[in-house]
Symmetry: C2
């Protein structure tokens, strides 16, 4: 099992399978399989040997990899327009492979020296687009945007309520009801964080949105003051850049002024949209970011590296250790020195943390910033173009002007009753998913379903989008005019 | 950047570098480098191109990978005896590579079909050694043992205090002071979880340990009742299997009876030791596990797969969604169907989650259970053997009888003053780390430093351990008898 030559032979076989996958430019979304059927196929690939170590079987490995690749969402195909995870730059996958073999956790410098140094370098590179003082900001990597949001909110909570960590939320009772202000369309990880942290998700103050689904600056102050009157002590305001459902960018600059005036920590959830900072064209979407206190940035979304690779930035590095207060002799050294100064274990939730920065740093080192900027700019331009296409189609309605690479729309064929709009969108989405050519997603907007595309793949063109519209029309027609038209969204076909 | 053939060529070059690394059987621990020197080396590998996409440069990639591999802890060398992360089975790294390229998050069935099915299969396979009802237990994967412990504690908290999620900890004030009982040597992630969750880390009830560093069953009841008298409402008891510092296994069977009697949720942190369940020889260390409510199991430790791969088991599947209560239309379907029934997004913290089960399932499928059982048994036997060796050495003192593959000991050369014991162990550890032949760790036991080995690599033999003892003796001699003897633990040499 540990033979180096066998390792190379197996890796080369698997690489050839992946090459074949990457070379396939056909339009395909997802081959949706009934779980029980897939279950039987998977069990059929398992050695029956129970008592001895079964010998390596290259055919078994090839079959496992084939099933794995074939049944996944085809993120490198132009048929994939569905979600925020990316068709990674293949080179990033190769660098991640090194990490999978040499297995160096990166919460401590001595355990992963280069990943820790690479984190420092990438922090500096990316902060040039944020604009904080190079000497006084901080960045830690962590396992996903949800964990980054939780970490930032903990830092904010512990700063405002210094005894919360040791004494818990009960100790505040009678003195304060801590609360967090969010946009009404904030990602579920933020409301989840309120539940996790002991704040209570009922203590979320939901700020009203404008027509573009951004926090409405004019009404935010009133909502905050109303919360105060209800006895809530808002300590943190979370802005999104952009939102998950439609990719809306909250007005950071104005919100930062409001937050400063009210003494609130401003956290920006830029899981999806922070990557726009690396583009000279698009950076303006996050205007005011230098006034925020913290920023979540998922590189596994629009920086096109394997998940997870989340970067959590703090304007003031002294805030970073505030999220967690802890001592553990076997990991945290008493006195920082040149080596332990780079440790992040006191600033990130994980003890064992994947060296997730490496694929990002390697791409950045080899191809430079322009790789990211150009791809992001293409995807955002493409989304603007398909918005224009939709405006010209009488049976389609875009639901917003796209700010980035997310667009929601509905198919509204002539004669469709208002009451059938919701169901038709869901049925179309499910039918497309099962047909397997295009993979798109759905979202509820004001309680009514909509179709949603997220353009993460630069191989997609407007022509592919026109093909998608054709498929949606056919699906809509079939669903309304043929027998068995109604999709259940769940039956296997 | 997306050329399939270039991908294959690059992957093959990197594979050859990794083959060379795996084939190197020399004894080496870590080449510790001053961060500023490494920083300069890393920056030297970055393209100076700022405005255009720099062309692929295979030499740059090779140099990055070389630096990455060379500066890591050498987990596949017999010189690595330091920590709980493993020299992975290389095949597991190859399967992880597939995941890095096809990039299928696994919180939702449709996004990662095979990973979700593989989770169900591995849950069933491993539960045969836990012994819960096949129809009614549950398992979710999550990003590390710390997150699994937090998740289980949230499920326990929300079950006892149903309004905690929505109303927060403040609403309980005056009625209850929630508390968590732990062994005095519990992993820092558990006390950290108490701080995160709003329980407050002062509301940890630390149960006294016996001489073997296990929770002392005879004194646990008294400690719990004492906590009740102090007005605490203990809702959860956390047992370790085994502890991080010495690998001690708390008496689960007796603690489960006590927990049941007192109405407490019993969570077992088996991040390190749960893997012993797959061995017929060693399973008894976790006797009583079927009476626990939840179990954390890090496959990236003693199942030898890349980090993170953590499995969180619940005896009662109905408890699993209780950790998080949430709605999000774009991910959680209203009505479960055959597909969405496998979704884990409502049961794990992450939204985007790596398909971490795949390397484990692939190893299990290709080589079977015996691969894991035999390697674990070898490592535990080896640890018993080195304990015996230490007992015969007058200038070494083992601090406990090893229960698994962790052993702590001190070097006590003749004439060493009691007051110098602590410093000498730290200095020896730092000197060894810098010499680079062996990588070991340190731990404080009763306030005094000790040396610690964790045997994760089956290539290690008792001969290697004797060499390590020789190196420790020489380091100790030098430190005591030569000029510049005192190590600072931080200066570069």
């Amino acid at each position: 099992m540990f033979d180096a030559r066998l390792f190379r032979e197996s890796a080369e076989s698997v690489t050839a399978q992946l090459e074949h996958q990457l070379a396939d430019a056909s339009i395909r979304g997802l081959e949706l399989i009934d779980p029980d059927i897939l279950d039987r196929a998977a069990r059929g690939l398992m050695t029956p040997e129970r008592d001895r170590i079964a010998a390596f079987d290259e055919k078994r490995l090839a079959a496992i990899v084939d099933l794995y690749v074939r049944t996944g969402i085809q993120v490198h195909s132009p048929g994939y327009l569905g979600r925020q995870f990316s068709g990674v730059v293949p080179l990033a996958g190769i660098v991640d492979f090194v990490g999978s073999v040499v297995n160096q956790p990166s919460s401590f410098y001595e355990a992963g020296q280069l990943p820790n140094v690479a984190e420092r370098i990438m922090a500096e590179e990316l902060n040039r687009f944020i604009g904080w003082e190079p000497e006084s900001f901080a960045m830690v990597t962590t396992s996903g945007g949800s964990l980054a949001n939780l970490t930032a909110l903990l830092a904010a909570r512990n700063k405002r309520f210094p005894d919360y960590w040791s004494q818990g939320g009960g100790a505040l009772a009678g003195r304060s009801r801590p609360a967090i202000a969010v946009g009404a369309d904030v990602h579920y990880s933020v409301s989840r964080a309120a539940g996790v942290m002991g704040i209570g998700d009922e203590q979320l103050v939901r700020l009203p949105l404008d027509r573009e689904q951004r926090i409405c600056l004019d009404r935010a102050r009133g909502a905050l003051e109303d919360a105060e009157r209800r006895g809530l002590e808002v300590f943190c305001l979370v802005a999104s850049a952009g939102t998950t459902s439609v990719g809306a960018f909250d007005p950071i600059d104005g919100l930062a002024d409001l937050a400063r005036e009210k003494g609130l920590w401003l956290h920006v959830d830029g899981a999806h949209g922070a990557s726009l900072l690396v583009s000279d064209e698009l950076r303006g979407k996050l205007a005011g970011i230098a006034k925020a206190d913290s920023l979540t940035w998922d590189a596994h979304k629009m920086m096109f590296v394997p998940a997870p690779c989340t970067l959590l930035f703090y304007r003031d590095r002294r805030d970073a250790p505030g999220a967690f207060r802890q001592q553990a002799s076997y990991v945290f050294d008493d006195k920082p020195d040149a080596y332990t100064a780079l440790d992040s274990g006191d600033k990130n939730f994980e003890c064992t943390k994947r060296p997730m920065i490496m694929p990002l740093w390697a791409l950045w080192s080899i191809h430079g910033r322009a790789l990211f900027a150009e791809k992001i700019e293409y995807l955002c331009r493409l989304t603007a173009d398909i918005h224009t296409i939709l405006l010209d189609e009488p049976d389609f309605e875009p639901l917003h002007r796209p700010e980035a690479n997310i667009l929601c729309f509905r198919h509204l064929p002539a004669g469709l009753a208002e009451s059938d709009v919701h169901r038709l969108q869901l049925d179309i989405r499910n039918r497309l998913k099962r047909q397997g050519n295009f993979f798109i997603s759905k979202v509820d907007i004001d309680g009514v379903a909509a179709l949603r595309v997220v353009l993460m793949n630069h191989r997609i063109t407007t022509e592919h989008f026109r093909m998608l519209l054709g498929e949606i029309r056919r699906a809509g027609y079939d669903l309304r005019h043929r027998a068995n038209g109604r999709e259940t969204g769940s039956d296997s076909e």
